[in-house]
Amino acid sequence: MQILINGKSTSVTDKTTILTIMQERKLSNGRAVVELNEMIVDKTAWSTTFFKENDTLEIVTFMGGGSK
């Protein structure tokens, strides 16, 4: 199925979890936060959260930034 990750259409299977994606991106160490369809998903639920068609996933992290 197709889902949107950070605005980019991506194929995933029905076995894919948030954790799978975070591991692929080397972001599973907790320095990132994810939002699934605009709801924050707690890290403890990453391994049990599967996707459905057209889900929107945002993965955010801190970057340098003072003023814009």
């Binding site: 924050i40 340098g64 930034g65 003072g66 003023s67 814009k68």
Partner: protein, 265 residues
């Protein structure tokens, strides 16, 4: 002098800040230099922004370069409305790095001036949720008052538009806010030189936030050190009580109190 500084604590939220300098981490050419710059500036607070993670994140994480003894303050940069700022604040909190949030709502891309109304809305809601909220505003007394009433932990008015390095352009308005609002006033944005930071502190500002001036200096580490000294100098000058500041020499026309002497005769 040292005693004077030791007794002079800045408390925001429930935390005692170790200095009166806040440093933003944007626009630096290289994150690896960050710890030395933060250290050289003796910064109490370091701001970070929240962004989408890179797709293949080989890139370093900013948090690795921020010393443990500073307070981390995420900002809501990128937000154009109160709702977006609130969403960014929620995501930042979920990162697990504390509950400080600098509200920055900018829908003007020409001058990068903040939207005070949306900032107030976001502040009202986030304070209720338990955040320590530091709103960034155009220096407007009534906005500052409403923010104080809403429970903001400090107010961050701008000295000049972000990144402009134009210095203390809003001095008259800042002074009014400093005098009238019973919260720490942190001057944010526009400060291009250490001397301007010192001037803000002489006016009675509680602290300074600088980013561009340090990040774009030829030697950021030295510039951070210079800002640190300037902020301290300005603070000491403020505590010492500024002397002669005006040249008000009323034109001594005819004596106004002559009638008192006539009365006595």
């Amino acid at each position: 002098m040292i005693q004077m500084m030791n007794d002079d604590k800045l408390i925001i939220g429930k935390k005692i800040l170790k200095s009166r300098l806040l440093i933003g981490t944007g626009k630096f050419p290289n994150n690896k230099k960050m710890p030395a710059i933060i250290h050289a500036g003796d910064a109490a607070v370091v701001t970070v922004a929240l962004r989408r993670a890179n797709e293949h994140s080989q890139s370093e994480n900013i948090l690795d370069y921020i010393p443990d003894d500073v307070i981390l303050m995420p900002n809501t940069s990128g937000a154009r409305t109160a709702d977006e700022a609130i969403r960014i604040a929620h995501l930042s909190k979920a990162m697990g790095c504390g509950d400080w949030i600098k509200i920055e709502v900018i829908a003007d891309n020409r001058y990068l001036l903040p939207d005070n109304q949306e900032t107030l809305k976001a502040t009202q809601l986030l304070v209720k949720e338990g955040f320590t909220v530091l709103p960034y505003i155009s220096p407007d007394l009534m906005t500052a008052k409403h923010l104080a009433d809403a429970g903001a932990a400090a107010i961050m008015p701008l000295a000049a538009p972000i990144g402009s390095n134009r210095g203390l352009r809003t001095k008259e308005l800042l002074k009014i806010i400093i005098d009238e609002i019973d919260l720490p006033i942190i001057v944010d944005a526009g400060i291009g030189k250490p001397s301007e930071a010192a001037e803000c502190m002489e006016l009675g500002a509680a602290a300074i936030l600088t980013n561009t001036a340090v990040a774009t200096a030829n030697a950021p580490q030295q510039m951070a050190a210079a800002f640190s000294l300037a902020v301290k100098a300005g603070r000491i000058a403020f505590l010492a009580g500024m002397g002669r500041t005006s040249s008000i020499r009323a034109s001594a026309s005819s004596p106004l109190t002559g009638f008192l002497r006539k009365e006595a005769n």
